[in-house]
């Protein structure tokens, strides 16, 4: 008898992480416009680092609101690389964004100087939080919402500074893995240098995300896709051919950083408490 064996579909993670760029654009640009409308605003303030996440966010905001309604703010510290500033400039010029540069060196050093033994982590957090302050200050004068630039990978890994880069009004790309950010950036023809350089927080020379995390985004996105989106257990992910130590390390990181993804707990003593049983959408303003 003729025998037809159909092999199990290959574990093609590239395919499983693939997104349709047109649908993504439509959903995310619509979301940005809608959040602005509901806040009674038409303009966006974005910190542009020269990296792919903020660049993509700027492209989406410009498409949603018009480039003339997007203020791109560059906020270099003295150790920031010239490349970062130049790459941010490529984006600004390509889109024709409103722009300003606010160096944070003096502000940061005023605090850092008081603690001579301050480590890199503390300095990095200070920089991230100062940038948040600058953006919210511009938000008040420019009349725009601060658009976040965090992706799903870094939010899950907690690779962010609480009240720093996480201190924003909306997160348009917060449900896209880094791998998907790269796809969408390519589809939107974001300048090649921005797309191709290694991701970096640019806090010191030669720093890269992947060097600091100890794994690549391409690899970790596969694990996160399985565990978060597809609800695999650690054992099931290992059975898919991933190294157990790697999977456990990633999952531990996701769990211990959960506090960065939630509002601070309110101690409940009354009958009705904010965050517990006082439940209204953020989008509901009663207006």
């Amino acid at each position: 008898m003729k025998h037809l064996h159909i092999p199990t579909e290959e574990k093609d993670f590239v395919k499983r992480l693939t997104i349709n760029a047109d649908v993504a654009r439509q959903m995310l640009c619509g979301f940005i416009r809608d959040e602005m409308d509901k806040a009674g605003m038409r303009r966006a303030v974005i910190g542009l680092s020269g990296g792919i996440d903020s660049a993509l966010s700027a492209y989406l905001a410009a498409e949603a609101l018009g480039a003339e309604n997007v203020l791109a703010v560059r906020m270099p510290y003295r150790t920031s690389s010239q490349d970062s500033l130049d790459d941010a400039d490529l984006v600004i010029r390509d889109l024709g964004l409103q722009t300003m540069t606010v160096p944070i060196t003096d502000m940061a050093d005023a605090l850092i100087g008081q603690f001579p033994d301050m480590n890199g982590l503390r300095k990095g957090n200070i920089m991230a939080r100062l940038r948040m302050i600058v953006l919210y200050d511009q938000s008040a004068t420019y009349g725009g919402l601060v658009v976040g630039t965090s992706n799903k990978t870094e939010m899950l890994l907690g690779y962010s500074t609480i009240y720093g880069d996480s201190g924003v009004a909306l997160q348009p790309i917060g449900d896209l893995y880094k791998t998907q950010v790269r796809q969408l950036a390519a589809a939107l023809n974001i300048p090649t240098p921005v797309q191709s350089k290694p991701p970096s927080a640019d806090l010191w020379e030669g720093q890269t995300d992947e060097g600091e995390l100890g794994f690549t985004y391409a690899e970790v996105d596969k694990v996160l896709l399985l565990m978060v989106d597809e609800r695999y257990t650690v054992d099931e992910v290992v059975a898919e051919g991933f190294d157990r130590a790697f999977v456990e390390k990633v999952w531990r990181r996701v769990k211990i950083n959960h506090f960065k993804r939630t509002m601070p707990n309110v101690a409940k003593v009354s009958r009705r408490t904010i965050g517990h049983d006082w439940l209204y959408l953020r989008n509901y303003t009663g207006r």
Binding site: K15, R16, T18, I19, N20, D22, V23, A24, Q26, M27, G30, F31, D34, E35, W278, L279, Y280, L281, R282, N283, Y284, G286
Partner: protein, 287 residues
């Protein structure tokens, strides 16, 4: 009989019954001008979807003594109307309700039977469950109405089919999810597949109206549609865009399809009843 159906794929404003009433009445004007006989709004079209603690504030009573509902009843003198609202009963219970209004009268109100309370859904926290699935007579023949999760379950459409409905009206507030490489979200594909299956299996018309717009980052996908008794999509509205879709359907197609494919004639509900009774008795026994 040929009738023109209007699918009001609107973006209701969360918690703002007054604004939503205006939007309904505007759609009635547009639909009446386009010769629509039957105008269908999505689930909770008068209130928005995630009303949470606003439920008591936005609830309506389904009679002419309710000033808002009276406006809808008045509008139904011009064309038949299907509207989504929160219904309060006399004992302070609240239902996700869909009303069929015609000639200034309430013809039928369906209470959502399946309240999704999993994943991102939390409906059973706020609403009481409906206790009935009934077809009803209209000037266009016998009709059955279901709300979103109701038709994700296979039994309510089957009951309506057995109760004589040749036109199924499905209303939903379905948040988009499952962005992958396809030009349609996996959620949209699933719902469309199911609706097509109902049209084919019941040799019925299936009209589905899904809302658009945004609520706290959820993106409602629209894509309202009509499936004919041959299981063919006659109409598919755009995804994500607010619009009134109008289309003329020929109700005589039901007879023609059933002459070719007598699934209804040959259906054996008594067998279903016997077997279900046996299965339920066994379950009771094993509990």
């Amino acid at each position: 009989m040929r009738i023109t159906v209007g699918l009001a794929q609107i973006y209701p404003k969360i918690g703002d019954v007054t604004a939503n009433l205006d939007k309904h009445l505007e759609a009635v004007e547009d639909a009446a001008a386009a010769g629509v006989d039957l105008l269908i709004f999505p689930e909770l079209s008068m209130t928005g979807y995630q009303v949470q603690d606003l439920v008591p504030e936005v609830a309506l009573e389904a009679h002419a003594d309710d000033p808002v509902f009276k406006r809808l009843l008045d509008a139904s003198k011009r064309l038949d109307l299907v509207v989504g609202f929160v219904q309060r009963d006399s004992r302070q219970r609240y239902f996700v309700a869909q009303g069929y209004l015609s000639g200034g009268e309430v013809v039928h109100v369906h209470h959502k039977v399946y309240l999704p309370t999993y994943g991102m859904f939390d409906e059973a926290r706020y609403f009481d469950v409906g206790e009935g699935v009934r077809a009803f007579d209209t000037r266009f023949g016998r009709v059955g109405m279901l709300i979103c999760e109701d038709f994700w379950h296979i039994s309510p459409p089957y009951i309506l089919w057995m109760d004589g409905a040749d036109l199924l009206i499905f209303s939903s507030s379905s948040p988009g999810r499952g962005l992958d490489g396809s030009e349609r979200l996996s959620e949209s594909r699933w719902v469309e597949q199911v609706n097509q299956a109902y049209g084919s299996a019941f040799t019925n018309y299936v009209v589905h109206v899904n809302r658009v717009g945004y609520e706290d980052g959820k993106v409602f996908w629209g894509g309202s549609s009509i499936v004919d008794p041959d299981g063919k999509f006659l109409v598919r509205g755009h995804y994500f865009e607010e619009m009134l879709i109008t289309h003329e359907i020929d109700l005589n197609q039901v007879r023609r399809t059933r002459a070719r494919l007598p699934l209804l004639r040959d259906e054996r509900p008594a067998l279903v009843q016997r077997e279900l009774a046996r299965i339920l008795a066994k379950d009771e026994h094993t509990l």
